[in-house]
Amino acid sequence: MVRELTCIVCPKGCPLRVELEDGVVKSVTGHTCPRGLQYANDECIHPMRTVTSTVLAKDGRVIPVKTDRTIPKEKMFECMELINATVIELPVTVGQVLLSDILGTGANLVATANADESL
């Protein structure tokens, strides 16, 4: 089986061609960097994504957050439910861990902006 993918690792968006046999990657062409090769392999076996969103703070503001590493693609919506059920205390600083080991993925939810206590 052949799968045609668009690499999402960087803005170049290289067109990838992956040859699969019984679910095993036999060859990858079209990538222009090692990260693209890794992406092609991952995408065919267990697709991974970074989730970015916002989380509610106690004072009603929303604070931007992300998973600090990729999580399995099929867990994105479950991750969103978890984020939307969370209310955080301020202040927060960039990179501060707000939720650890989300859904057992090993990824943490971290703040991507600073927010003071006062508005």
């Binding site: 999402i8 960087c10 803005p11 067109p15 970015t52 931007p64 902006a113």
Partner: protein
Amino acid sequence: MKQIDLVIVGGGPAGMSAAVAAYDNGIKNILILERDSHLGGILQQCIHNGFGLHRFGEELTGPEYAWRYEQQVYERNIPYLLNTMVLDISPEKVVTATNSEEGVFQIQAKAVILAMGCRERSKGALNIAGTRPSGIFSAGTAQKYVNLKGYMPGKNVVILGSGDIGLIMARRMTLEGAKVHAVCELMPYSGGLARNIEQCLNDFGIPLRLSHTVVEIHGKQRLEGVTIAKVDENRRPIPETREYIPCDTLLLSVGLIPENELSKTAGVPLDRVTSGAVVDQDRQTSVEGIFACGNVLHVHDLVDYVSEEAEIAGKSAVAYIQGITAERTDIPLSTDGKIRYTVPQRITQKKDVTVFFRVADVYRNVTIRVSDGDRVIYSKKKLKVAPGEMESITLRPDQFADAKALSFALEVK
């Protein structure tokens, strides 16, 4: 009147990067004027990742990318004024601004860097038939509501235009529980990055309807639906293909326009293709001592390139203030139509020149060729070029030293 060496209009990625570059090259008497309540510009609402791969070698979100530059501004104690609106810039570089603390005030600058960014094309520019209900937003406005205010603009969404902001918002609204029924694109190709089609639409099964547009808006108080139709090769809707999609929200991602009202007050001539200033290799406009960089100069797709361009402007503004120039020349750059424009449009000094350009259509297996008459001074092969993906090349002075004029052309096999 207050005297400042370098006034930078706009504290987004371009303004901050220009300020840092100017400071590090020896001009400390700088003032950034920002109309919003924070530095960072539009990056603050771009909470998705994908920024900074070129600059920092890692994938950052918009606020994180902004924070990297904010820290550089703070570390250097570069002065900035927030909530401050610039009203006028004169050709003599007198900057008139206002804020609630100082009222209206004027600054005499030795050099000015324009870094005001761009704004979205609005519904008014599209002339869509039908009613005028609520529920129609530019994609950036929706982004602000969702990401900064925590409001969802609607539940059932159609997006017109496949620019990157529209694609990013398709994913964002989907993750927050809305149903995005379609992204319609007038052109036969997307205006966004290929990776965004993949990770924002394909990941969620959102259909991209190429060569389609919205032909009618329905609803009295609130949007109730839109009629879409396929368009022919002349981009005219084909009546038989009309299709009604019920929705409560229409997002428009139909292009960005550099915000050059202030540039005009300074008498800066604009390029009809880019809607930004005509500049030389230093990103100096035709008005001496006034520079431009970032999306006010031409719309970029990557902030990394904005920062790079702003550094050129920042460094060059310092050289201008200090009276340092390389050997003078005057070489106009022209394009063949397949390449739509170049920035800069002119080379006035013999030094390394970074040229950004965009193509008019999607082309495969191309050779980018820069020639002086019949003499090819630069060529580079590319598998694919697309209007949504800006290209950049750097020319060395020995390549163009004796050139009369440089033409940028795309040879398609």
